[in-house]
Symmetry: C2
Subunit: 194 residues, 2 copies
């Protein structure tokens, strides 16, 4: 029987919903069987161990973001325009994959060893792309000289949306991204030479 | 035997360290007994149930922040200056009470009923103070007109530091706050009338 990738993703979503609500350690495999309607055998066949499932959910979210960010960084656009696109891509992804991000943010500590290292390496790679943009903008004079730690602040501004974005109601992820990047860019961009 | 408040705080810190590392649901009362060197009886005497302990840790962090923010808001200072102070106060508190904040951010969903409502009401009250400042600044013309959702972004920028502030090494919480509020204020403050 070939594994259907869409079923695997569907199981990942059910697990993410369950863990986002009750925590990884607070949820047994039995509850995942109930949520998916699968028996233990079928579940293990599709996802391997509970540990592997957590890894797949976590790495899936970050790898997707790294891919999008690399595409954006390769575009022939100003640093400000690419910053807007990075912001849009991140906010859209948080909104679309909310339970997966809750699991990512809350359960990174539940991953161990090589799996944890790999997820953190991808996360660092994502942050490095934002940092690269900030540095590029400063070197070209498009941005002011600002401590690189600002990148952690910009990412936090977006990432933390996983806590409240469900309640933000009327605004689309794109609109939220624009509110944030307008203020950030105004804060970052150099004064026009008089 | 009177309960000593410093011992209660010390137990809260041990629990926060344990739960920040392994999760609230992933940790039994036995592990808390081992971490504190207290027997079950003594532990329950000091802290009540595990549930109450989670509540005390969570509400303690937010109530402290609300108190500081109310004091800052009452100062006879410009909106920009008060925003700087709010930022400093929040970043200092996250750095000082890191395990408690990890528990707060990760385990809010583990609180139920009235306890959860009370913690969330205090959290909303804290956010309302930042929002009040943003609105005041816009009404007086000190700040540009920006969607109030920016307040969630500014808070996220700070709050998310609980993930990385341990690794930020050389920078003090005050320095981090200044990097962030410099960019935010430049993004928010109105252009000087020519």
């Amino acid at each position: 029987v070939p594994r259907r990738p869409d079923q695997k993703e569907w199981i990942q979503r059910q697990a993410a919903l369950l863990w986002a609500e009750r925590g990884y350690h607070g949820t047994g495999v039995q509850e995942l069987c109930e949520a998916t309607g699968l028996g233990r055998g079928a579940l293990y066949y599709h996802i391997g161990t509970k540990d592997e499932l957590l890894y797949e959910i976590s790495i899936g979210s970050v790898v997707r973001m790294v891919g999008e960010a690399e595409e954006i960084m390769a575009l022939d656009l100003s640093c400000s325009e690419r910053l807007r696109l990075l912001s849009e891509s991140l906010m859209a992804n948080i909104a679309e994959r909310l339970p997966e991000w809750v699991v990512f943010f809350h359960e990174l500590g539940s991953l161990r060893g090589a799996k944890r290292d790999e997820v953190m390496a991808q996360r660092d790679r994502y942050e490095a792309l934002w940092l690269q943009l900030a540095v590029e903008g400063q070197n070209s004079g498009e941005f002011r000289k600002v401590d690189p730690l600002i990148v952690k602040g910009m990412l936090g501004m977006h990432n933390y949306a996983y806590v409240w974005i469900r309640q933000s109601g009327q605004k689309t992820p794109e609109e939220i991204s624009h509110i944030f990047s307008d203020v950030l860019l105004r804060g970052l961009v150099s004064d026009p030479t008089p």
